[in-house]
Symmetry: C2
Subunit: 446 residues, 2 copies
């Protein structure tokens, strides 16, 4: 439970090059915390990763697996035997076991479950019914629950009887005889209250438990806005199913941020994914771009005659297209962020559009003066300067329409605008950029 020890990490990562013996590596691994080992695995190319994992003791394998990203976790799990896996996950929390098992082939999952005790199996099968990206996927059943008519004295005795409270227990839940969720009482309240006080009177008012079907990103927003450590999870009948704790929510937040960051470039893979998988994850995006690049070419093709007469138009035309692409990506980024954070809705989208338009016009004027000046300095042609400036302003204005409406339309069509948005908006600005510049040139220079 210490900060990552950079020396250990480096030693493990250098293991191959320094030719440490397997025993030496094992010893270093023994001194490392499971989160350090997970970080080392995530920082290792596939071959080395396999080697390091094979040197771990089974007792720590489960903890390490839960700290890994999904892709690497699945890779490593596919390489160990059913016996070893069912042994490794035995001590994990419910949501952690479920995370590991739910990605296995049906056949294998059944085999592993059959190796477990009836109690474990029932518990895990209960967790497996909830989709990964819902509150149910984050559910733990290690809750402490009490009845409303219990006194603080009874509850204190009950808590004392537990050898260890479950991790991150900041509150206990109050339930009816039929397991209906009635409310929650912070542990701190129990400590500071009179021992004769009834639990019923200590319940924190105005707390809404989380519904098991709720989206995991909404759960994260809820935790963040209300500074929660843990929250009760109920089913649609209001029965307490378990709880969600902040550590799992932090993982949701980090994973989501990672996906958003990678998604804009059409990438979705772990940093040290093998070349085949990485190539596959990226080729779709590149092919999409190839398709749209040909569309842009078609718009240039219209003006072959013009280009034939004035060849330096070909020199300048990528400038107009590229500036529009950058401006559109900026607008798109702001709109995507607003959509992700739930900040954009029908009452403010109009203001946002007008603001973006104002930004583009202001920046368009500044930049078109700059472009016009440089162009004049280069080609000594005042008409050309005016044309490229006008084309730039037209394209920056088109970038606002693309940047604001493309993500909104994609969302209406149930496409993830963070993934396909940037290819679409740059296609728009490429096409408008070439059309406006070469079109104006055809009208006024020939």
């Amino acid at each position: 439970m210490s900060l990552i020890d950079q020396d250990n990490l480096q030693a493990i990562l250098d293991a191959n090059s320094k030719e440490l013996s397997l025993n030496q590596i094992k010893n270093i691994l023994k001194s490392m915390h499971s989160s350090e080992i997970a970080h080392a695995l995530e920082s290792s190319p596939p071959e080395q990763r396999k080697l390091i994992f094979s040197l771990l003791e089974t007792s720590i394998e489960g903890d390490v697996l839960t700290e890994l990203g999904e892709e690497i976790q699945q890779d490593l799990v596919s390489k160990i035997s059913n016996e070893e896996l069912s042994e490794a996950v035995k001590e994990l929390e419910l949501d952690e076991v479920v995370d590991i098992l739910q990605n296995l082939p049906e056949e294998r999952m059944k085999k592993i479950l059959s190796k477990m005790s009836l109690r474990d199996r029932t518990r895990i099968e209960g967790g497996l019914i909830y989709p990964d990206d819902t509150a149910g996927g984050l559910l733990n059943t290690d809750v402490l629950s009490v009845r409303p008519n219990h006194t603080v004295e009874v509850v204190t005795r009950y808590l004392r009887e537990q050898k260890d409270l479950p991790e991150n227990t900041d509150k206990i839940f109050v339930v009816s005889k039929k397991d209906k969720y009635l409310g929650e009482v912070p542990i701190s309240k129990i400590i500071t209250s009179e021992i004769s006080e009834k639990i019923d009177n200590l319940i924190t008012p105005n707390i809404d438990p989380i519904l098991v079907t709720e989206n995991d990103k909404d759960v994260a927003t809820n935790f963040e806005r209300n500074n929660l450590i843990s929250s009760a999870v109920i089913n649609s009948n209001g029965e307490l199913l378990g709880r969600i704790t902040i550590d799992d929510v932090v993982d949701v937040i980090l994973e989501d941020a990672d996906q958003n960051f990678l998604g804009m470039a059409g990438v979705a893979e772990d940093t040290f994914a093998p070349p085949g998988r990485a190539a596959k994850s990226r080729v779709f995006w590149l092919s999409m771009n190839l398709f749209t690049a040909f569309i842009a070419s078609l718009s240039i093709n219209i003006f072959q005659e013009t280009l034939d007469k004035i060849v330096y138009l070909a020199v300048l035309m990528p400038i107009v297209a590229s500036m529009g692409g950058v401006a559109a990506t900026q607008t798109l980024t702001i709109v995507l962020r607003g959509l992700t954070l739930g900040q954009i809705n029908r009452s403010n989208i109009r203001w946002l559009f007008k603001r973006e338009l104002a930004v583009s016009i202001v920046n368009g004027i500044v930049l078109s003066l700059l472009v016009g000046f440089i162009t004049y300095f280069w080609f000594q042609n005042i008409m050309l300067s005016i044309l490229i400036s006008c084309a730039l302003i037209i394209n920056l204005i088109s970038s606002v329409f693309a940047g604001v409406f493309v993500p909104l339309i994609l969302r209406k069509l149930n496409q993830d605008p963070a993934i396909s948005g940037s290819v679409v908006v740059t296609t728009v600005t490429d096409v408008v950029g070439f059309l406006s510049f070469l079109g104006l040139a055809t009208l006024f220079l020939i």
Copy 2:
């Protein structure tokens, strides 16, 4: 403390259009949680934001301010009187007050501090000495500390004497008479231990407290890896200064993710920033791109004669450049993510480079066949097809060098590669794309 009530939010956001009376808006605001109000403010254009904030009661203003992003917080703070501000922040936690005050002009900060009690002033001045982006900036002084020779009985009595435990108190800290940090004991341990047990024997082993000068992102990594709720913060003498809690760490994580997402597009502003500020935040990036676009134009300019003879080269050349740009951005994104997560170091960068090269060659072959085929279909010129295919492969290979080495070099030069990286790499691929395609055409088609 409930989930965001969408009806409330919509009602507030629609306030202007529906022409609610100020009293009606006030009443809706009264029924909302401070985090809901903060979300509504962040989702409002500046004018409406000012109006909503002016309708809040002073008692909730402080809580709302702490939930806001820095930019909006500063905006609103600049609009209220010193008296109101010092009243509003009175009840906040130390790190929250410090966050608000440290961005004020020196003069104003002094005036507000002078309106506070000596005790508050001393406490806040103590917090103001730490930079915003360090552990010190997240520091709260609301710690419970005990001596090692106390018994559980004494500590339980001490806890019971507190009317309310500080929020997120999952552990108490053990200190010497001279305030040296000695360790920590989870509250759950105190509840479940014999009352005669000495605190000394309950200290969790192997816990490292956080040094007050530590970077806030490292603090976040530490919390995430070790699933912490709170952690002690010490100075270089080992004295306990206070603690950091998970809710503030979650804010660091979210802010960091937001900056990473926006940074790639050269944007850094809140979603509803006024047009002037938004234009200013983006114009630097656009100007940089203008500069690099002219560099790309210069590389086309070399081949004016070639373009003059074969005009359709101008039609096809943006394809090669644009494909290289997308591939380079993909590689850059993976490298940036690896650098941010601390996964990349001298022992694995070579593997990563080779992997990227393999990916580009594989995808290069696939895509160049596709490009060659489409080009042949369009222009019926086999030589042209071969040339564009070769140019594409060359550019995809150059994209690997750019995508891997540009961020590493920028980091060596102490530049943030997430911010300037993408402009630099696309310049490389634009230039290489135009040079290779037009160069090959000059050699083989003329």
